[in-house]
């Protein structure tokens, strides 16, 4: 019972439909359920709102167009015209993270992005795509990316390993940032939710007011982290395409 009310209980993976293929656990879990809900919601939002394809958009169509133009401008500003090819990828990343974050704000739901393995997998995907783009585009010249220009040779001995480490740390920092934000926000809400019960009717309204304010902040964080994830992906893509610091 105690574990049920732990602030971390909300992050537990529950196998809704246990499955196993070749010894590998592929169970349909609560996390899987919310991933499916997220992609269904994204697709529904972007197709249902655009069904009238009207010249003067309504509210829902405006929102769909806004999300499209938001990412389109982000790519245009940070990557340039060459980035257009990668629009569906960056857009999918952004929408997936945004919807997973926002769905996690619904009480009793599950936050997919509060699991380091999920955020790390997404960050690693971005890292892999960006690195492959850089290698396909520049070949061996890509290695020049790790050698800062205009630096004395002696310093290079020190700087090149730092550059290499900072490059390979990218997926870690990208994933930990999103994971930590989600984890901290949801844990804090749960902790303060516990305080409301513990302090009872006389003092409980204090943490309750805090939760209300925190909920607003968490909606901001949900959007902001999706934005940060997408814009960093854009910046990495820009590095891969143009190879300059």
């Amino acid at each position: 019972m105690a574990s049920d009310h732990s602030p971390l209980a909300q992050f537990e993976i529950k196998r809704l439909v246990p499955m196993e293929i070749g010894g590998l656990d592929v169970s349909f879990t609560n996390s899987s359920l919310f991933m499916v809900i997220a992609i269904a919601a994204i697709t529904l939002f972007l197709t249902w709102s655009m069904r009238s394809r009207s010249l003067v958009p309504g509210r829902m169509q405006s929102m769909a167009e806004l999300s499209y133009e938001f990412i389109a401008n982000m790519i245009k500003d940070n990557v340039g015209s060459e980035g257009r090819k990668y629009f569906p990828f960056i857009f999918s990343i952004f929408m997936f993270v945004l919807f997973c974050n926002l769905l996690g704000m619904i009480p009793y739901s599950f936050t997919v992005t509060s699991h380091i393995i999920v955020t790390f997998a997404l960050a690693a995907l971005v890292f892999l795509v960006v690195t492959i783009v850089a290698i396909v585009r520049h070949g061996f010249k890509f290695l020049g990316f790790f050698i800062p220009s205009g630096v004395p040779a002696i310093l290079l001995v020190l700087l090149v390993p730092i550059e290499i480490i900072s490059y390979f740390v990218r997926p870690v920092s990208l994933s930990v940032r999103l994971f930590a934000n989600m984890l901290a926000g949801h844990t804090l809400m749960k902790v303060f939710g516990g305080f409301v019960i513990a302090l009872g009717i006389f003092l409980g309204w204090l943490p309750l007011a805090f939760i209300v304010a925190l909920t607003g902040l968490e909606f901001l964080v949900a959007f902001l982290q999706a934005y940060v994830f997408a814009i960093l992906s854009c910046l990495y893509l820009n590095d891969a395409l143009h190879l300059h610091h």
């Binding site: 971390l8 993976i13 656990d25 972007l46 655009m50 167009e65 699991h115 994971f179």
Partner: protein, 163 residues
């Protein structure tokens, strides 16, 4: 911490892979082309509308220029007509003035002639009257019948003396 339970990693990774690949294809093949089509149509519509507006404004500008040209032409035409009329009136005035002058001169001449004639007639009558008066005066004074010839001679002499 449930996040660090390695046994939970495979199902999450597999479902993430499945859902993300599905999402990517849904976005790339359905959602994104749908939205970009609508945005492109709108952009095309705006561009064509702007072009139409530009064309219409050029047309209006041309119509205005035509109107102004016609107005200027009408104005210059009116000016021509006015100056022509003025010239004509001036010419007519001159002609009628000349005619009037000629008629007046003729009338003056005729009047002068008749005046001179009347003067001459009067002058000739003066002599007769003077002679008659002198004759009757003489007759009354001296009861003498003097011939007209003598009287005339005397009158003529006296007039000459006076003159």
């Amino acid at each position: 911490m449930p996040q660090l339970n390695i046994a939970d990693f495979p199902p999450q990774l597999i479902w993430l892979a499945i859902t993300f690949v599905v999402l990517y294809f849904l976005m790339a093949k359905v959602a994104v082309p749908g939205i970009s089509d609508v945005l492109e149509n709108r952009q095309n519509r705006i561009t064509s509308d702007l072009e139409e507006a530009k064309r219409l404004s050029e047309e209006a500008e041309k119509a205005r220029a035509d109107y102004e040209e016609a107005l200027a032409e009408a104005r210059s035409q009116a000016h021509g007509i006015v100056s022509e009329l003025k010239a004509q009136v001036a010419k007519e005035q001159e002609t009628s003035k000349a005619e009037l002058d000629a008629a007046l001169a003729k009338k003056t001449k005729a009047a002068e002639t008749s005046i001179r004639e009347a003067k001459e007639t009067a002058l000739s009558h003066v002599r007769e009257i003077a002679a008659d008066t002198a004759k009757s005066a003489v007759a009354k004074l001296v009861a003498l019948d003097i011939s007209d010839k003598d009287v005339d001679a005397a009158v003529a002499a006296s007039m000459k003396g006076e003159a």
